[in-house]
């Protein structure tokens, strides 16, 4: 006759889910029930097999990237559906246009517009937004991201996480600008992404800070501590300037 306990308590015992009293009771039962002993051994053996079988399958790396891209997309789609957001968007657009006009005027005065380097940075950012291209290393931890660049570049880019200021570090990747590998840090900003390109200038001579926009993408260029920086995103110019400020601190 089958022992009733093999079908119930034995599994609770195996899983460590019995309270002390019931566990003791079951142990006493084991002393007199060969069937339960045999079954317990068989179940323990099967558990070992399952664990040794490496059945756990971790998520493919691109899933996190796809997910973040999808979430960014969801936000935009939903935003356009709402009248209130329409108004808000219009107001923002007007404000942005004003900001752009000022920036454009500044650029005209300084005689500098979007140069080849910035154009390449913009293209690199847009390409990175394609599924699976955003980051080569996905981590919000600056101590994971920074060492990742070791041996890939001949300089050490400053890697900081500004999540407390609303610019969480998402990860990093390598890009090529003007034939040279550069570090790209990826920051999040309200479900949007910012690519921050960091490189060492060829001449060592710092150029003046400047900014601009193309096809709805904003860019800000500056240099600090012997390195050049270019941030590109579809967030507002103000947001990019904030990030530039944080980086300079």
């Amino acid at each position: 006759m089958a022992c009733d306990l093999t079908q119930t308590l034995l599994h609770g015992y195996l899983d460590g889910e019995l309270d002390a009293v019931r566990a003791q009771e079951f142990e006493r039962h084991l002393e007199s029930c060969a069937q339960c002993v045999e079954q317990l051994e068989a179940q323990e053996a099967m558990r070992s097999r399952l664990q040794a079988g490496k059945l756990y399958e971790a998520a493919p790396r691109q899933l996190a990237v796809r997910l973040r891209a999808e979430l960014a997309g969801t936000r935009e789609k939903k935003s356009w559906g709402s009248l209130r957001l329409w108004k808000w968007a219009t107001a923002t657009a007007v404000a942005a246009a004003l900001v752009l006009a000022v920036i454009a005027a500044t650029n005209l005065r300084s005689g500098r517009g979007e140069d080849a380097l910035v154009a390449q940075a913009l293209d690199a950012h847009v390409r990175a937004l394609q599924p699976g291209h955003l980051t080569d290393v996905l981590s919000t931890d600056q101590h994971t991201v920074k060492p990742w660049f070791d041996g890939k570049l001949d300089y050490v880019p400053p890697v900081k996480n500004f999540s407390e200021s609303g610019f969480p570090l998402v990860g990093a990747r390598l890009d090529v600008l003007q034939g040279k590998s550069v570090a790209t840090l990826v920051y999040g900003r309200r479900k949007h992404y910012i690519s921050l390109f960091v490189w060492v200038p060829k001449s060592g001579e710092a150029e003046p800070a400047r900014s601009g926009s193309r096809n709805g993408y904003q860019w800000v260029y500056w240099s600090a501590q012997g390195m050049e920086f270019c941030a590109v995103s579809d967030v507002s110019a103000g947001d990019l300037q904030n990030l530039a400020e944080l980086m300079r601190e």
């Binding site: 034995l10 899983d15 998520a59 979430l71 479900k191």
Partner: protein, 185 residues
């Protein structure tokens, strides 16, 4: 915008979501992979579940974020199964799914099948409702309380559900090793 649903996360919630929920992406994928028996379908389901998790995150009152996420993954996978493979959900506990053997000769497959394949095939042949408790317990290391929270199986029934699932798995493995695998009908 619908009430009670959140499409956007405030920066603060966004940070909370990244910290609490995103680390359980592997658990979400693994659970979906074993429920749907396919990596490709699991990728879609896990992604959909995560998007739903973002939407419902406003209603997350704290507690165990993994169990909360896995419950959403389970609902997503069951809806997907209902739509695409309803027969799998109709199965009783004592039935097994007939797996199609893709290799040419049964002898070759028996020899070539390594331990992981054997275990994986045995697990996949169980009905979803048996399979899920085994995956949660043996692969994900969930407690009975968590299993109950994720699957909706009453706390008092988790133990007997696991017992039956383990018995089925044991029997399937024993049968497979005796080379009595049936090939379709």
């Amino acid at each position: 915008m619908r009430k009670g649903s959140r499409d956007l996360l405030e920066p603060r919630d966004n940070e909370r979501f990244e910290r609490l929920v995103m680390p359980h992406m592997d658990a979400a994928f693994n659970f979906a992979r074993w429920l749907l028996r396919s990596r490709a379908d699991a990728e879609d389901a896990a992604q959909e579940a995560m998007v739903r998790a973002v939407r419902f995150f406003g209603g997350f009152q704290g507690g165990d974020p993994r169990a909360w996420l896995l419950r959403i993954v389970r609902n997503t996978c069951y809806s997907w199964l209902e739509k695409n493979r309803p027969a799998e959900l109709m199965m009783e506990f004592d039935e097994t799914i007939h797996l199609t053997d893709t290799s040419a000769s049964p002898e070759a497959s028996a020899l070539a099948a390594d331990e992981r394949q054997r275990l994986s095939a045995a697990l996949e042949s169980l009905p979803a409702r048996s399979r899920e408790v085994l995956v949660l317990r043996e692969l994900e290391g969930c407690s009975y309380k968590e299993i109950s929270a994720i699957t909706g199986i009453p706390m008092g029934t988790v133990m007997s559900t696991l017992a039956r699932a383990r018995e089925r798995l044991q029997e399937t493995l024993r049968r497979g090793e005796g080379r009595e695998v049936r090939y379709g009908v």
